[in-house]
Symmetry: C2
Subunit: 365 residues, 2 copies
């Protein structure tokens, strides 16, 4: 058990944005909300998985919708509380703690803000180890744990408690409701016993995010190469260096979808990388080479600072380094690939582990 | 207090379809479900408003969505029970009885089927005195009674419990969820204390429907003119006689929308009536005259039998008589007109009471 203060929040926000692979929400908003909550209610209690009493009810929290919308429509904090109260009332059981459902600028930080406000601990675990755009794309789903009953709530005071026959139906109904509610909502989802989370979650994710953020911060302070330090901290590989030359982005059916072109320089001078995203970066390839494929992680970092850039933060002319990080083994199973591999998103490529792509195509290490 | 058996169901189905003004769902499906429920569980107990104990919790039930969809996707009965159980659990109070939310082929009969299955009484009241396409179009809404918490449930086993800031938001979120759930769902909505219903409901509506159905049945048996008998029983006016010559109908955003053209004969030989509908008939006019405008009731009856024809039952060549019935006074208030007058539906006409239109334009009495 330990307490998270302002420095920890700053570091977690950076690491979460990196693992958010372009999505998972704007890190600035998530951070502000968590910092404000600490200011108002004091530090946040973080428990590791083995510190939670048996049979405790844990409810992950976060936002659902297009991050592009949330920038304009900042949550007021009451939505998440309403969602929690409603779920608690429905289940007739007290919620012991919350946790993030995914790693991402907003969705790693919102549970911290909520926990501070409600005086609950946060558990150091999530259900993705990265960010993904749909509700069923969790390691819980891979183990047949239902997302329902779940509650989504908007900033106006509307909420919907969904009980669905499976997680894909949960995603469908929640998605259209989210769009109707204004494009982004807060959610309380996948209510679970701690035992289920121990078996199915990605453990120590908040600590991992903190480590990444701290690495980048200290590299700068110590005049080290921050990209190299990040690769070491994450077990990732450098894939491409370039300059953003084109971005096509639209918010459709509740998602921020599009592509970005990154013109290579240095070792990549004769190539252009195309990055495909749907909230998150899902596919990176050049004219010649396939570089990285979902569920493996693709992060775009500022070439200078190594700070992660979200899809909505991609700006024309920005110099960046694209890195790949192998996903958790749970995602590389047949069910994992079927759930969030390239085929699910409509990309006409087969999943190949990042490590093989690196070996085969000679991507820059 | 009295019991409703098979004959009563048959008569109510006919009267409900007439007051359903073309919408409110297919009377055949509603009737079959109610008859089957009586077969399985025995007659249904009908209570008048003054027979209900004080503070009883009453929950109206019915279907939401496009009637054109429901013909293909018959409810199995479990959806409504799921919706009731979910609402009861959320409210933490036992539901004393159900009632229809509107008059219509399906929505007058489904509460009877549900009541039989659950062993609950039905209250002789509704919230429209006719059918309307949207959830906030009730006399309860006119008196500021919230539609939420409400539950919608589909035949697959998905359900959504909505708590909304007002009834228009309830309509919006429920509508997109309904479309996603396959275009029609069962709902439990407007949970109320009996005292609220006494003040705001349209009383004795099921008995009124039964009277209309019985009138048509007996007219046939006694060789009377059934149209004349119907006009007498309902206080309605004959507006037009003709033959259906054209129907344009599409199912969009969860509604069956369109127009029908009816070529006049007899006294109306030189005119064509255009009927505008959105689930329900909302506007009837010819090249020369405005005949009837929502919220007043427009019903299309078979010229021979006086049996009501729903919008989806309108067939090319069908000979019919169009009648108008003055709506309940609650609908003719400024809030009533704003809620479901012609302006709300996008028709460029002012509401004029049926009786004035009859006087001014010399429509056939």
């Amino acid at each position: 058990m330990r307490y998270l203060g302002k420095q920890e929040i700053e570091d977690i926000a950076v690491g979460a944005a990196l693992l958010g692979t372009g999505g998972g929400g704007d890190p600035y908003i998530g951070k502000l909300m968590a910092l404000q909550a600490i200011e108002d209610f004091g530090p946040i209690k973080l428990l590791s998985l083995d510190e939670v009493p048996p049979s405790s009810l844990i409810v992950p929290s976060g936002m659902m919708g297009a991050p592009t919308v949330m920038i304009e429509k900042v949550p007021n904090g009451e939505e998440a509380i309403a969602a929690f109260k409603s779920l608690e009332k429905y289940l007739g059981q007290e919620i012991f703690a919350t946790m993030p459902i995914e790693a991402g600028g907003v969705n790693s930080l919102l549970p911290l803000a909520l926990a501070a406000r409600l005086g609950l601990p946060v558990i150091d675990v999530d259900g993705m180890g990265r960010a993904f755009p749909e509700l069923q794309m969790t390691t819980f789903y891979l183990d047949d744990i239902p997302a329902a009953p779940m509650v989504i709530a908007d900033e106006k005071g509307n909420s919907a408690l969904l009980t669905t026959i499976n997680n894909v139906w949960g995603e469908r109904i929640a998605r259209v409701s989210t769009t109707q509610m204004g494009g982004s909502v807060m959610m309380a989802i996948y209510p679970m016993q701690i035992e289920q989370i121990r078996q199915s979650g990605i453990k120590d994710i908040l600590s991992f995010e903190e480590k990444i953020g701290k690495t980048i911060r200290l590299a700068k302070a110590n005049n080290q190469n921050p990209i190299e330090e990040v690769l070491q901290a994450t077990g990732g590989f450098e894939l491409f260096q370039g300059k953003v030359s084109d971005i096509e982005r639209k918010t459709v059916t509740g998602f921020a979808r599009g592509t970005a072109s990154i013109e290579g320089y240095g070792e990549n001078a004769d190539e252009t990388l195309t990055l495909h995203f749907q909230n998150e970066h899902l596919l990176a390839k050049t004219e010649k080479r396939l570089l990285c494929v979902t569920p493996d992680l693709i992060a775009v970092l500022d070439a200078e600072t190594a700070l992660p850039i979200t899809t909505e933060g991609l700006r024309y002319g920005a110099r960046c380094v694209v890195i790949g990080i192998p996903s958790h083994q749970k995602w590389r199973t047949p069910k994992g690939i079927a759930t969030c591999g390239p085929g699910y998103f409509g990309y006409d490529v087969e999943f190949q582990p990042l490590e093989s792509l690196i070996r085969l195509k000679g991507a820059v290490k």
